[in-house]
Symmetry: C2
Subunit: 344 residues, 2 copies
């Protein structure tokens, strides 16, 4: 469980980040004009008058904490926070088309509500706006350095997404099976790079040099991996009432996530039974239950939880290398614990 | 017809621009890694070992000419030229999904060859690379100013594309009909903004100030409109053996292009007959021939050709306001004439 104090610290930091970022997001979406602005407002859930308060706003929170860590004002980080949030949302909109996911945040995904062409175009527009908010600020130099980091992070994201899709075409076992190291490279690219951008760009905009920004980039990547490991555990053993996803969801979808890859790589007797079961196809609820048990017996769950903890240690190492106020350090630590706390 | 000397001048300028730009494009696509790089190479037609020599490379050509106009080296313009070409191609890939177009440059469009998910992802990756090539150069300041112009131009492109789609849902006549001014705003956004970026960013990277860059932005927009007007004329009356598109193509597809909008707005007897025919639907070849004749009788063709010429005058006005070497001015003029020369 997440300690109450962690929860309070994270909520307070994320509320501050959201309140600063949301006006910039609304202005960016508004600049797209009538039709696109309406679709954007639908996606962000603004039509009901609500803010995007439902989310943890982890990317804006990271950007703001990083700016504060290096002695800047929270507002320094806002272009980075808004850019990260625009990219995250553009990527959700396009991913939902790519994956055929029909629901997003409890409502029909943009492509279901407005059609694939509109979903492609609003995603493209948000993508450009991300660069627009970074480059349109008053400090062109730092904005440019941050935008260059964003372009690099987005290249990684695209490569990671394609890798993830290609994993589905590979066998469960044998020389072409997905290896643990390959999975982690993919996960860093797909999830970690944008978190790394959020933190490093927040620091840069607050005046940090490139070396310090690099520390925050690594911090964000470790957080991303810790988050992904946790998600992978929840994707099999998560409580559907808490995750909003079906029980054994990732097994049902045949996803090659870390617990499964690690279980198969362990080459235990349970690993061999798991390969046979996966190759035959998981047809019944009993198959799913057995597969989950075999992943656990082969050590896949424990390995993944240890990886999550290891990446939190990586976060701590990054924090140790940059002097910062104690309460900001505590904010980062609480954020990290809250990400993996979902499985503790 | 295009004068032979214009043709030679344009071909020589565009060859120079292509030779400088293509290595940067190939490197940018290569950085996307195995799967995406292969799809990118397919789209650009590099798999056969050919360059993208088939095209006129109008955007790189504009960027290089603008850099030379302000006293820079052709190579100064290369990041702008490559960014414009990456955006142009990303937008073709996504547009082909949006419009359901199955062919591009004589081969299956990316979404037909690799599927919609891959086409979305490669488009997104090229989109980010455009910012990457602008911001990754050695001159961060000018790169940032150019990238900010790119983000603004891409916002306009997205708005223009959505407007264009929404035009199809509007009636041919009455108070909700598409007006000439609305059409031109859409066409500037959809086509002109990126040409304006190409020219202005080429000038900026070669050291021009913002006012001069603004002149080149207007020049590009006028060229874009001249190009669009010409395309609209060819879309109805073009020779299929030259355009590669079916005769009366835009009428077949029910597109609301400038000749038709102008013909309907003219309120001549031919305009009234045209409305009735369009409302009833163009079912036969005889219907298409009659509709084309009525557009011409109502003055739609003449109006559009005059608009193309008027925008070339706009190009000349821009050229007159910036001192430049005579041969560079001649290059811009020849490029303009070659764009509308297709209908002369």
């Amino acid at each position: 469980m997440i300690a109450d104090s962690d929860h309070d610290v994270v909520m307070s930091a994320s509320r501050r980040a959201r309140e600063l970022t949301e006006p910039v997001l609304r202005a960016a979406v508004g600049r797209l004009g009538g039709a696109l602005a309406g679709i954007g407002a639908y996606h962000f859930g603004w039509q009901s008058g609500d803010s995007f308060a439902a989310g943890k706003a982890i990317r804006p929170t990271l950007a703001v904490l990083a700016a504060e860590a290096v002695g800047g004002a929270p507002s320094d980080a806002v272009p980075a926070a808004a850019a990260a949030e625009l990219v995250h949302n553009f990527s959700l909109i396009h991913d939902d088309i790519v994956d055929g996911d029909e629901l997003r945040r409890g409502q029909p995904a943009v492509w279901k509500a407005y059609g694939v062409p509109a979903a492609i175009l609003i995603g493209d527009a948000l993508h450009s706006e991300a660069f627009g908010v970074l480059l349109g600020g008053s400090g062109p130099n730092t904005g440019a350095a941050a935008a260059e980091r964003l372009a690099a992070a987005m290249r990684e994201m695209a490569i990671g997404q394609v890798e993830d899709i290609r994993f589905t075409e590979r066998p469960w076992a044998g020389e072409h099976a997905v290896r643990i190291a390959e999975y982690e490279v993919m996960a860093v690219a797909k999830t970690g790079a944008l978190l790394g951008f959020s933190a490093s760009a927040g620091a840069l905009l607050a005046g940090a040099d490139d070396a310090v920004a690099g520390c925050f980039d690594r911090l964000g990547r470790h957080l991303g991996l810790a988050f992904q490991c946790t998600d992978d555990v929840l994707g099999i053993w998560g409580d559907p009432t808490a995750t909003g996803k079906p029980v054994f969801g990732d097994l049902r979808e045949g996803k090659k996530t870390l617990p499964i890859i690690a279980a198969l790589a362990a080459e235990t007797p349970a690993s061999s039974r798991l390969v046979a079961l996966l190759d035959a196809g998981l047809r019944t609820d009993a198959d799913l239950r057995l597969a989950a048990q075999l992943v656990e017996d082969a050590g896949g769950r424990e390995f993944t939880e240890r990886e999550a903890a290891r990446h939190l240690t990586g976060v701590a190492d990054c924090l140790a290398s940059v002097p910062m106020p104690a309460e900001i350090r505590a904010g980062f630590e609480a954020l990290g614990r809250s990400l993996i706390g979902r499985i503790r």
